[in-house]
């Protein structure tokens, strides 16, 4: 099947980006190099084309009840403009997807889902919608999306794009005409995500690049940035087999809610413990652990690396890994098999760099 293209595809090619298939889209991995783009976001400002992400709207008399049913976090009675992070889970606690839920108005929600999961999520949402008085729309084809991220993002969005965003608190959203702007992101830095028509997104992209105040950044550094601050990627740290509890994301599962799909299974996992957990491992060598490499204890395989890098911000070889819970305690010595050699490491917190959110 031919890969899809975002509304900015031609601009990426003109910039000489390294293009690669990701989640069914032909996406820019890097424009210059991953390290420079990563540092631009940590120290100044970068812009990402994330138009591949999916958007679903839930509206109608029972919109809130429906969102509460499919979503692990609790949106009940939230103020308009609040944004929530959480998961959709199966009855057995496995993860359908992780997503953002925006409360746009009473009984009007905007859900942002992973590109790789759009078809699966949409089918799942339709299935769960039976019996609810709601209007559910898959708007993924209609929206382009930019993420403007970094300590200078607020000034850049205000001054270059002319979008008033200063008063937005962390994890809140507003609309300016047809444009949706939220103070959210996937980098561990302050920043904004902008959802609008492809034409508007193209105009924003041009202004941002022409200003010279914002570096175009590819998915390569999007992954190194989110990894360093311990944010999960669906497919690596979350999956149908990896529940939010296993991933260490119980805080986004609100068990005081009356019900949501997967609640019983997740609550049981939380109470009784899980067989495997996602942890951090730091190696004492510079060798780089990669997705799928074996984690060993005394020569026996006890887990697998989910994401690993030689981190850019802290110059260490670290990874997140799904391991047997018996070895999940901090400072437990664990080894990682990298090609033909075995490298020693130890369990650490899975946050390798501190977040710099503006709250």
């Amino acid at each position: 099947m031919e890969n899809k293209r975002t509304c900015l595809y031609d601009k990426h090619v003109q910039l000489g980006a390294l293009m690669s298939p990701f989640a069914g889209f032909e996406m820019p991995i890097q424009y210059s190099n991953i390290t420079d783009e990563h540092q631009a976001v940590r120290t100044a400002c970068g812009v990402f084309d994330v138009s591949h992400m999916g958007e679903v709207t839930v509206r109608g008399a029972e919109a809130e009840r429906y969102v509460q049913h499919i979503f692990t976090n609790n949106v009940a009675g939230a103020p308009i403009g609040q944004v929530f992070y959480g998961m959709m889970c199966y009855e057995n606690g496995g993860t359908v997807d992780d997503l953002l839920v925006y409360k746009m108005a009473e009984q009007d929600f905007f859900l942002v889902i992973n590109a790789a999961n759009i078809d699966k999520d949409w089918a799942w949402m339709l299935d769960q919608a039976k019996g609810f008085d709601i209007d559910l729309q898959n708007m993924s084809e209609h929206y382009g999306q930019l993420a403007v991220q970094g300590p200078e993002a607020e000034q850049v969005v205000e001054e270059v794009l002319g979008l008033a965003c200063k008063e937005l608190a962390f994890y809140t959203v507003k609309t300016i005409g047809d444009v949706i702007v939220s103070r959210t992101g996937y980098t561990g830095e302050d920043g904004f995500e902008i959802y609008a028509t492809p034409d508007y997104i193209n105009a924003c992209w041009d202004k941002l690049l022409a200003s010279g105040r914002c570096k175009p950044c590819g998915l390569g550094c999007r992954d190194t940035l989110r990894f360093e601050v311990g944010l999960p990627l669906y497919g690596d740290e979350l999956s149908a087999e990896i529940s939010p509890v296993m991933a260490g994301l119980s805080m986004f599962c609100k068990f005081d809610k009356e019900e949501f799909i997967g609640k019983e299974a997740l609550q049981q996992q939380k109470a009784e413990g899980v067989a495997q957990r996602v942890i951090g491992i730091e190696l004492s060598d510079k060798a780089i652990p990669r997705h799928g490499y074996a984690v060993l204890k005394d020569g026996e395989k006890v887990g697998e690396v989910t994401t690993g890098y030689h981190t850019i911000s802290s110059d260490k070889s670290v990874c997140m890994a799904l391991v047997d819970s018996r070895y999940a305690k901090l400072d437990t010595p664990l080894d990682i098999q990298i090609r033909k050699k075995v490298f020693p490491g130890k369990v650490v917190k899975k946050r390798f760099y501190d977040k710099h959110y503006k709250k």
Binding site: I29, N33, I34, G220, I288, H310, S317
Partner: protein, 126 residues
């Protein structure tokens, strides 16, 4: 345009051999370092390890991915370029100056299976 040096032997997986007497210096071509991007780690064999033509003997890693090093010839490792342990970026600066391993060649006829500079330059053009 990637740099190709006369007098070296090149493989389709973009390693080169520079032959000096019974020894060969093995590294990656300029084309390869450019395709990899910023090199952040070089996984090298140890002295006295035997390497076999067509088999991997280590890896070069960029931020994003690991790329196996495939031996263009067989032999015994007599030296590894230790400078690369602390400065893997030397491969980006000059991958021909900064060879990865030095081997004692076990079968010089294997060189006939590799490309000369002109053939390799054409190979990279494709």
């Amino acid at each position: 345009m990637a740099k190709v040096i006369e007098g070296l032997y090149y493989s389709e997986s973009h390693e080169y051999v520079r032959v000096e007497g019974e020894y060969g210096y093995i590294g990656i071509s300029d084309y390869a370092q450019h395709a990899l991007g910023n090199v952040v780690y070089v996984d090298m064999p140890e002295v006295d390890d035997e390497i076999e033509a067509g088999e991997d003997f280590g890896a070069v890693e960029s931020v994003k991915a690991a790329s196996d090093l495939i031996a263009p010839v067989s032999g015994v490792v007599v030296e590894v370029n230790e400078a690369l342990e602390d400065q893997p970026e030397l491969l980006n600066q000059d991958s021909y100056e900064n060879w990865i391993i030095k081997v004692e060649l076990s079968d010089s006829t294997e060189l006939d299976n590799l490309m000369d500079a002109q053939a390799y330059a054409e190979f990279c053009e494709k």
